[in-house]
């Protein structure tokens, strides 16, 4: 059910312009990276001038920020939140914990690699990434959206079996409801 009218080139360009300049983020404050988001949004770095703005609920958000490590327990909630978001939607993996586990590389109950479970559009490296790096990550996401390459949501729909398999492998008590998305 994703938006696949890509043959309408001109409307798609205009829509991508609007999407790129109006990113409403849902900062899922899992790890220590959540502390960098207020610094990015407030006076000194002021992400609002780029159109980046906080959204209150998954229904209203465009970008899901995974700020730091994810335990298996939170992964379940993050998947539900991601599936409640409306297309087009993007995921930013934040900090080295989301990339390869970081300092939790040998932990027994955190996930090591986020893009096995959710389609990540942009990774921001660092432990923790400073607000400059976060802004650069948003800039990267904006340029991907402009080129029409930020299609993580489409990948998620297409390869749902792959992602579901990985998710079910690590989440033991799997009791997800059926969504109407």
């Amino acid at each position: 059910m994703y938006y696949d009218k890509t043959q309408d080139r001109l409307t798609e360009i205009i829509k991508n312009f609007a999407r790129k300049h109006s990113l409403w983020i849902l900062a899922y404050g899992t790890g220590c990276g959540a502390i960098e988001v207020p610094a990015t949004m407030t006076s000194r770095y002021d992400a609002e001038r780029l159109g980046v703005r906080g959204a209150a609920t998954p229904r209203q958000a465009d970008v899901l920020l995974i700020t730091g490590y994810l335990t298996v327990k939170t992964l379940k909630r993050v998947i539900r939140v991601y599936e409640q978001m409306q297309d087009p939607k993007y995921v930013i993996g934040f900090g080295s914990c989301a990339i390869n586990g970081g300092m939790y590389w040998d932990s027994y109950n955190t996930i090591k690699q986020l893009d096995l479970y959710l389609p990540v559009d942009v990774y921001i490296s660092g432990c923790m990434p400073r607000p400059e790096a976060v802004l650069q990550g948003f800039g990267k996401l904006q340029s991907l959206i402009k080129e029409g390459k930020a299609d993580g949501a489409r990948k998620y729909k297409d390869e749902l079996d792959y992602y579901r398999g990985n998710q079910q492998k690590i989440i033991k008590n799997w009791d997800f409801p059926d969504y109407n998305w």
Binding site: M1, R19, H21, D46, R49, Q60, Q86, D87
Partner: protein
Amino acid sequence: METILINILGAIATFLLAFVVGMTYGGLRRKVIARIQNRYGPPFYQNFIDAFKLYSKNTAIHHGAMHFLGPAFLMVSSVVALMIVPVLTDNQWFPNLNFHGDLIFLIYIMTFGPLGMALGAGQTGNPNSAIGITRGLSQMVGFEIPWVMALVALMIEHHTTSLVDLLNYQTQTGTWLIFENPLAFIAAILASLGMFRYSPFNIVGAPTELASGPVSENGGKFLFVMMSSGSVFAFVKLTLLVDIFLGGAGNLIILLVKTFIIYMIPVTYGAVNPRYRTEQAVQYFWGWPLIFGFAAIIYAMYF
């Protein structure tokens, strides 16, 4: 037949004007608040980009028929209120549906949209929506009373319930009602702080506290309808205050200047005030605004 056609075209023009002005004011509000917080802020046309993005988003949420009708109620209420309020003093371009007693009708129709929205939000089943609705209705009990008292003071003073009569009185005598009954103006402005629902009275859609309250299950096109109806409604409220107290406006530039000055009162008041709790907000409105409302009625009756 031609007059009907012209009226329909005029109604569409009025709506487009209200939409553009309301959206631009919303963007300017974000800019003003950003400058107060020592930020650069988004461009003033940011709200148009946001609205277009929201419109182009996919919407696959379904919570039942009332959930779809809630934003429609909001929009209907805004548009009907817009059709009643005269935009300019000599109405040639922007026709409206005035009738005798439209001030009373306005008091009713301005609460109609939030009530419809409450029905729609109730069906989403989100607990945050339910809390937001109860908060919104309590707050409405707070600010409606000084607002109605300010209008009643004007009705008593001029023996009319017609908006156009008040407007004509001001243009004929050349005095603005803000000078004839300043107490009513103060009561109406203090009530309008709550009507705009900006900080410190944003207790309904408190984003960090209630996850935006009644709006929390609505994304994409729902949010687009709500955003545009909110913009139109802001324009309606500002034009109404200008029509009643500041003598209306002869042309669009005067209208924009007057409405912008009025609009900056709730914006700047909100930019430096944190959010009230519900009972604090209701206590606020039942304090000084109510006293000013009473004083305005007494002034209108005996002076």
